[in-house]
């Protein structure tokens, strides 16, 4: 398994644990009354669907999809790392900013870059993997 895929899959596992632990805390009656946790539902959803599911798919796709070429079998390594960095930094910013906004604070300083970073991550991944999705 190449280093990029190892990083993506391990980060996905970290987000899975973090997301499901957050889910546990959200169900504890005493904690569930806290405004911060009542506002955490969208964050929980995105930790699991983006941090875990989508990141795991990206890691496995970059590893196992048909080869780009003999010289660069997995396409651009650099774009792969851009995807990894942007996706995880974007999620971290979301984790900070989203519950805060739900509580009425202005957290656009975190959420605006979070949105841009996650979109850049997706764009870099799709651009990188698109030529590898072809008939053989």
């Amino acid at each position: 398994m190449p280093p990029l895929t190892r990083s993506l899959v391990k980060a996905a596992l970290v987000w899975l644990v973090a997301g499901l632990m957050l889910g546990v805390v959200m169900q504890v009656p005493a904690a569930a009354r806290l405004p911060l946790l009542r506002a955490a539902w969208p964050t929980y959803l995105h930790l699991v669907t983006v941090g875990w599911l989508t990141q795991l798919i990206i890691g496995v796709a970059l590893w196992l999809f048909p080869r780009h070429s003999a010289a660069r079998p997995r396409g651009s390594e650099r774009l792969g790392w851009v995807t990894f960095g942007c996706l995880n930094l974007g999620l971290l910013l979301r984790l900070v900013g989203e519950p805060g906004r739900a509580l009425g604070h202005d957290t656009s300083v975190a959420l605006l870059p979070s949105a841009v970073l996650q979109l850049v991550a997706v764009g870099a991944f799709v651009f990188n993997v698109w030529p590898r999705v072809r008939e053989r």
Binding site: T49, I57, F65, S114, A115, V129, W130, V133
Partner: protein
């Protein structure tokens, strides 16, 4: 990668880009007029258009093939699943986002259900030991 998998995976990648772009707007500028109502389309694009469709595409590609007859079995069912799934997320996403189009959502969910049935019927015989 077989032709149908190319169609499914590329459609899934396009749904990922569209869903992520809509999601980025919802996160960055939630107050933008009329934007919040498109949240169901964002969810349909990413849950059905991206993840379910990608799983279909990869499964069609890598599940065990047959030695005799058509190597991937009943292709027409898999193609039907591809068409119904994409019709399904589109109708459901728009139907749940636009006032007055609720009946589209019901048709969309029905299309998604039929897509699941068609793909399950295609894939079922291919879930077998390698020989």
């Amino acid at each position: 990668m077989p032709r149908l998998s190319v169609w499914m995976v590329r459609s899934a990648l396009l749904a990922l880009v569209a869903g992520a772009a809509l999601g980025a707007l919802l996160l960055a500028v939630p107050g933008l007029a009329g934007l919040a109502r498109w949240r169901p389309l964002h969810a349909e694009l990413l849950l059905v258009g991206w993840t379910v469709q990608l799983a279909f595409g990869v499964a069609y590609w890598i599940l065990p093939r047959f030695r005799q007859g058509a190597e991937r079995g009943r292709d027409e069912l898999a193609w039907a699943a591809f068409l119904m799934l994409n019709l399904g997320w589109l109708l459901t996403g728009v139907g749940r986002s636009v006032a007055g189009a609720e009946s589209w959502a019901l048709a969309g969910r029905a299309a998604e259900g039929l897509a699941a049935l068609a793909f399950a019927a295609h894939a079922w015989p291919r879930v077998k030991p390698f020989r």
